[in-house]
């Protein structure tokens, strides 16, 4: 069985926060306690979609935003992606209070570095969610943190009010529509020694923060980031799985990993968002071009044609043979 351990849960609360973001609360269906977790952890939510006579299971990672100490319920916030393959739309449109769903045990790929003297959080949009859990964890132990949160405008600023109410001195909010920008170079310049930077948000923001901090001389191990990618649709393609000795078709709306699973082949995974490295798969032969989208392999590995991350990457061409 691949992926983290699964937990049967019931949807106990759904709260629309604004035009784009809705919060979901899950409790264990058997009434028991959920595992504790560390701030920054995510859970993979299984969405079984039987609408329109189909039967598709999507599995998307979402950061846990509830208090890591609270074992009674998990909460996540889901931003609606009208352009995506439908996972977030399914959550927004189909999921109702009382529905039974399956989530994974928490997995943390964006952990706090507990050696840090100070934690500097940089959030963009829905990237605020892992920080909500990390802030609760740090508050429990009197940790030193500061949040800089950029969002489009006040109407779309999820959790801005509660953050500024509870932590007025540690929370700094920037609205794009008001031309407010994080003054990153100055912000970094003023940090005490031993500060760690954590950034979660759109790819452009992550790249900007990593590049700026590196340019200012920050050590690589003091900069932490997390961006989950959603698989993207693309042209259908055919793949031979050499170990299983079968040929499968990857449809326009499904990922390579989903197609492998649909064929009944157990393939390893954890995050399903191109970050954790678990689904790394050896390429045995190919004629065509890879569409690599993961954060795991480096540029040289992408160019080599030896490996693919089937959770988010695709292929266009005649022949693709995988060691699976």
């Amino acid at each position: 069985m691949s992926g983290a351990e699964k937990i049967a849960v019931t949807v106990t609360d759904i709260v629309p926060l604004n035009d784009l973001v809705t919060r979901f609360e899950f409790k264990r269906t058997d009434g028991g306690l959920l595992p504790t977790f560390s701030g920054g952890a995510h859970t993979v939510v299984e969405m079984r979609d039987t609408s329109n006579g189909g039967d598709i299971t999507r599995m998307n990672p979402y950061s846990l935003m509830s208090d890591p100490m609270d074992q009674s319920a998990y909460t996540i916030s889901v931003r609606r992606d009208d352009e995506g393959r439908g996972g977030s739309l399914f959550m927004h449109n189909n999921v109702k209070v009382g529905d039974q769903m399956v989530v994974s045990n928490p997995v943390n790929l964006f952990s706090l570095d507990l050696l840090a003297k100070k934690h500097l959080f940089l959030a963009g949009g829905i990237g605020i969610t892992p920080f909500l859990a990390q802030i609760k964890q740090l508050e429990r132990f009197n940790g030193n943190w500061e949040l800089h949160y950029a969002c489009r405008n006040a109407a779309l600023g999820s959790y801005v009010d509660e953050l500024t109410d509870h932590y007025p001195n540690a929370t700094h909010v920037y609205y794009d529509d008001n031309d407010q920008r994080i003054d990153l170079v100055n912000l970094l310049d003023g940090q005490p020694l031993g500060t760690h930077i954590y950034v979660c948000g759109p790819k452009g923001m992550i790249d900007w923060v990593r590049k700026t901090a590196a340019g200012e001389g920050w050590p690589r191990e003091s900069i932490h980031y997390e961006e989950f990618l959603a698989p993207q649709s693309g042209k259908p393609f055919e793949v031979k799985l050499a170990v299983s000795n079968i040929v499968i078709q990857v449809g326009e709306q499904e990922s390579l990993l989903e197609a492998i699973e649909r064929a009944g082949v157990d393939a390893p995974y954890l995050c399903r968002g191109g970050a954790c490295g678990q689904c790394e798969t050896q390429v045995i032969d190919y004629t065509g071009n890879f569409i690599h989208r993961d954060h795991w392999l480096d540029d040289a590995e992408h160019a080599s044609g030896d490996k693919i991350m089937p959770c988010v990457s695709r292929f266009e061409g005649k022949v693709l043979v995988l060691d699976r």
């Binding site: 504790t36 560390s38 132990f141 490295g277």
Partner: protein, 355 residues
Amino acid sequence: MTIQFNDETFRDDYSFKNSDWAIKRFPFPFHEDSYMYSVNMEQHRGGPDGSIYEKRFDVDEHYVSEMRDRAMVLADDPLRCQSLPHMTLAGWDLLELIMVSKSEDYPDLFELHRNGDKWRWVNKPMGIDDSFTFLDEATLPYGPMEYITRQTQGDFCVLDQRDDNLWMDAGMITTQADWSLDFDIGMNFFEWHAPVPLAHEKGIFVRALKFLLSIQQGAPARRLNWTMTVNPLLDTSPENYHKWGIQKTSVTPENIGAKQHLRVELQTFFRLPRSNALVFPIRCYLCCFDDLMSVPKWGRRLHRVIRDLPEELATYKGFIDNRPMMLDYLSAFDDGQPTSMGIWPDRDTEPPLKT
């Protein structure tokens, strides 16, 4: 099941002994007639009834005496237990994991009563009944890691995970196979494994680290490791080498069966939820050659493994000088018959020794 705890020593007069029950469940580490390093990991989710794999933290007849020996080691050398300041939360994680596991797995021996943060822990074999506030160190007589590992068999490495590596940032190490926590504290995975021969070249540690970094909550793993120890010593530390190293020269053809012990480590790995650290318990089981030879399959196999082991490994494991004497002894228990695969004794199916 009620366990009869032995009153025994692991030093001086060495009154340690294994009952028939303990011999039968001894974790013989060789699944075939030869040995080489491998990342021989499997999921740690129970095992055959009564086996050392059955419970998350195995408790056996040596429990009370082992804890007494640990207390003596710590009294002589407090640096055997260390926890860097950022590891306190991981210590609480470990305390919670062990208390929950033991109270569920051995309800007749251990009780955990929780009312919010107010916890009461009852350890009947050791006569402990303590109430404390979870996550408040001031309410325990030791730090959380030290408190619970003074009551749990096996050494404990608590590894911080950061920068795609594991760091030896806390531990309770009193039953070790010749390595030092005080030397390794703060080292990363490759640094503390630097002395191991052959395995680096085989890429073992790169693969092992990748595996360990991805161990997830609720999915612990395990493997066996082994070495040799003369006399049933738990504390074979570098700090005390001057005391136990010399004992390796006390082995004679007459006493080797009683003095020479196979030392097996059950190594398990658990992700700790609140800290995202990893705990690596290393549980030591000792069995003398005479007792091992009561199982025909183990007699045949141990002879073949020790005979064919590469010199580097026999040197690293510290028995190269005594190997000829071991082989003289062991060869009498190898009649050349084939052995069944796997580590289990198979007493009902393996033929007795041909004499």
